[in-house]
């Protein structure tokens, strides 16, 4: 395993990656619709839980310094059991990466390129991601450093532009908690908890490679908090612009809101900047899940992950197209099946099960050392 490169991410890069990762697709597809006009409250609640989730993952990693989640599995469960678990996680990451990619392809083919085959969009995107990951996670971090100013300012500008265009009606947000707390709870569990905050699980394979692990805890919390704020801002923007019903009926509410922008009857049709946000968000999101799967393969095959980039990229592309027949299937699976049967076990149950074993093992090794 000596030929495996040790990579280092700076804390700022980690912050950016988490930030973009969280916002990426969650800003674009409609989230928290169960809570109706209180979707932003639901996002706030989910964000608080997200902070907890971040803390939990960090705690898990801090018990075995320098080891990523997969190495912890092997440490706790031994080679074979751990290996089996890793294979499951690899499949999970591949599946989620292709789902996220499909989200983007659906957006492009339904909004912009109506005639272009969805395969083509997927391939184009994956080629970029393959290239980026082939050069390593550091490159992804540095690329994000370049793009973050645009990413951030575009999101903020959309809101301001819609506001100036006079399309926002903040009365759409009323009544606040008219139906009580129930719809909010329904929106948070399990949907908002797992998507986007629970998906932080993929970062358990990146966090160990930051330059200063000890400080990364603060960074994770900050990033989750910042992205949560942006998501809330986004939800308010969408609800105020479109109204609850229209938002629920829109496949991509942020894009629909951006279409309302009309400044001085001159600056119009700026919805493409939303596409930029999504595109970059998706690249990062697919990239991080992709990287998670690669790390697993690296550990199992004992060969540098770069060898697996191209074949795995091909698999993700293929899967993203084949994963569901139509948009309805894609969304329904994403809202009902995936959170219950994939997200919750892989994001919460399995790490929670591993925790006692890890605590026991690390305690033993510490005692042994003493």
């Amino acid at each position: 395993m000596k030929n495996i490169l040790v990579e280092k991410l700076s804390l700022w890069q980690l912050f950016i990656l988490i930030f973009i990762f969280e916002i990426g697709s969650a800003a674009v597809v409609s989230t928290g619709n169960d809570a109706k006009q209180d979707a932003w409250i639901a996002l706030g609640v989910a964000m608080i839980f997200g902070l907890g989730i971040g803390l939990f993952f960090h705690f898990l990693l801090s018990r075995a310094p320098g080891k990523n989640l997969f190495e912890i599995f092997q440490l706790c469960l031994g080679k074979w059991m751990g290996g089996a678990l890793i294979i499951m996680y690899i499949l999970y990451f591949i599946y989620i990466a292709s789902r996220v990619l499909r989200d983007f392809c659906e957006l492009i083919t339904s909004f912009i390129f109506e005639q272009t085959p969805v395969e083509f969009v997927a391939i184009t995107m994956v080629v970029v991601i393959i290239y980026m990951l082939y050069l390593g996670i550091e490159v992804m971090g540095r690329t994000s450093e370049i793009f973050i100013p645009y990413f951030f300012s575009f999101i903020i500008i959309i809101g301001i532009a819609v506001f100036i265009s006079g399309e926002m009606e903040f009365t759409n947000l009323l009544p606040i908690l008219g139906e009580g707390i129930k719809p909010v709870v329904k929106a948070v569990f399990p949907q908002l908890l797992t998507f986007p905050f629970g998906e932080l699980i993929a970062f358990t394979l990146i966090i160990p490679y930051t330059s200063e692990f000890k400080k990364s805890k603060k960074i994770i919390l900050l990033a989750v908090f910042a992205s949560g704020l942006i998501l809330i801002y986004n939800a308010i923007l969408q609800i105020a612009t479109l109204g609850v019903q229209m938002r629920a009926r829109s496949n991509f509410p942020l894009l629909s809101s951006a279409r309302e922008i009309s400044l001085l009857e001159f600056i119009e049709r700026v919805d493409l900047i939303v596409v930029f946000i999504v595109m970059y968000g998706i690249i990062i999101k697919v990239g991080v899940f992709f990287y998670g799967a690669l790390k697993g393969l690296e550990l199992l095959s004992k060969r540098p992950y770069r060898m697996h980039v191209v074949p795995l990229g091909a698999i993700i592309t293929f899967l993203s197209v084949k994963i569901s027949d139509n948009f309805a299937e894609h969304i329904e699976e994403g809202l009902i099946v995936v959170p219950m049967f994939l997200h919750i076990p892989f994001q919460f149950i399995l790490p929670l099960l591993i925790l006692p074993i890890l605590l026991w093992k690390t305690k033993k090794s510490k005692e042994g050392r003493e």
């Binding site: 909004f111 912009i112 085959p117 009544p175 109204g243 019903q245 229209m246």
Partner: protein, 407 residues
């Protein structure tokens, strides 16, 4: 030989050009107006109005060819018809610049507005075109009435409503998303602008119409159409439309307020103050009075005297106060009349009081949500007007008050 750069170039060519969905400019025609009528045999008759762009280039200002072309087809769905138009038309149609959607009265009455889903769903239509209901004539007729200044019928219509809203406000200012969310909302019923034709439809469709001073055929604004859910139930006249729009988002309008007390005398014998209302803002509220909703409208804004026919001395504070009071009474009365008229005649909450009620008293609203329109029809209305008279143009006293009286 190093083939790598060449290969890379070829690959890039495949990926970097977005030429799959390209549309060349000379392959498209721009649609400015859509008219939907009831079909004779099938569900809809769709008429598209296409700009004849070459008529607008400076080099070819011949004036011989028509500024726009219309073409109609019958079918069961608008989206299919849209793609079938090439039966008679050469180029692909582009809808992102649609300015007006004309809906025939018959279609609206039967509530067959399902075709709106296509406009809502398709990414091609922007949310900036007018929706108008055509009175008297079929909708397709209105796509064929040319006008000398704006030769393309729908461009004229669009500009006209825009100016009208800014100047006086006799158009409900409804866009597609407004309409659809009003249809789906229980606390609001949709409205749309109404237009009618003055003159002979045949004469309007030829560019000769543009050559006489007294235009023989002209499209006029005619108030608005009131819907109950998705069915047209009736029309309101221009003044009522202005009053309706005042409860929504009116900015400017003009009033003639009688300056003596309104008595039995005919209006032609009365004296009026001509007031320009600017910067007005309206607040809707629904309060509960012993368990029953009371609809409240509060209007604030500024006015200025544009002209007066009254002999009062405008340099005095009392006169300002007097005029202000008269104006507020007049406006409150006007709005009240319109709301009560809608309550009595249609019983459809087009003002969105239900939505306001929902925001203010969510639990009470939930109880009456299902039959809100009935509750609305019986609810008490209170209108409060708080307009301020600020100034009076570039003259102080009116010359009318200076006319020497000879007895």
């Amino acid at each position: 030989m190093n083939r790598k750069p060449f290969l890379l170039l070829v690959i890039c060519m495949g990926f970097l050009t977005g030429c799959w969905d390209r549309v060349e400019l000379n392959d498209i025609s721009i649609v400015t107006g859509l008219a939907v009528d009831k079909g004779k045999e099938m569900k809809y008759k769709l008429t598209v109005e296409i700009v004849n762009a070459s008529q607008f280039s400076k080099s070819q200002m011949g004036g011989e060819a028509s500024p726009a072309i219309t073409y109609s087809l019958e079918g069961n769905s608008v989206s299919e018809l849209v793609h079938k138009m090439n039966i008679g038309i050469t180029r692909r149609l582009i809808f992102s610049h649609t300015r007006v959607l004309y809906i025939g009265e018959e279609v609206a009455k039967e509530g067959v507005l399902e075709f709106l889903d296509y406009l809502d769903r398709s990414g091609q239509f922007r949310n900036d075109f007018n929706i108008v209901i055509t009175q008297g004539e079929k909708a397709e007729v209105f796509t064929k009435i040319t006008y000398p200044v704006q030769k393309v019928p729908s461009l004229k219509m669009h500009k006209q409503t825009q100016s009208f809203i800014e100047e006086w406000g006799g158009d409900p200012g409804v866009r597609l998303t407004d309409f659809i969310s009003a249809v789906t909302s229980l606390g609001r019923n949709p409205v749309a602008a109404a237009i009618k034709l003055k003159g002979d439809p045949k004469k309007g469709s030829s560019s000769e119409n543009n050559q006489s001073l007294d235009i023989e055929s002209l499209v006029e604004m005619n108030g608005m159409a009131v819907f109950q859910d998705d069915k047209l139930v009736g029309f309101l006249d221009l003044t009522d439309t202005r009053n309706y729009y005042w409860t929504q988002e009116l900015k400017n309008t003009s009033l003639s307020v009688p300056c003596a007390k309104q008595d039995e005398a005919k209006s032609r014998d009365q004296l009026f103050n001509d007031l320009r209302v600017t910067e007005t803002y309206t607040q809707l509220k629904v309060d509960l009075k012993s368990g029953r909703p009371v609809l409240k409208v509060k209007i604030t804004g500024e006015t200025r005297i544009e002209a007066t026919q009254c002999p009062d001395d405008i340099t005095k504070i009392e006169t300002y106060n007097k005029f202000e009071k008269q104006t507020n009474e007049f406006v409150a009365n006007e709005i009240q009349k319109t709301i009560e008229k809608v309550q009595e005649e249609y019983g459809a909450d087009i003002f969105g009081f239900g939505e306001v009620f929902n925001r203010q008293h969510h639990k009470e609203y939930k109880k009456v949500e299902k039959n809100w329109d009935e509750v609305f029809a019986q609810a008490e209305v209170e209108v409060e007007s708080d307009l301020h008279l600020r100034r009076s143009g570039i003259r102080a006293k009116s010359f009318i008050s200076e006319i020497p009286k000879q007895d």
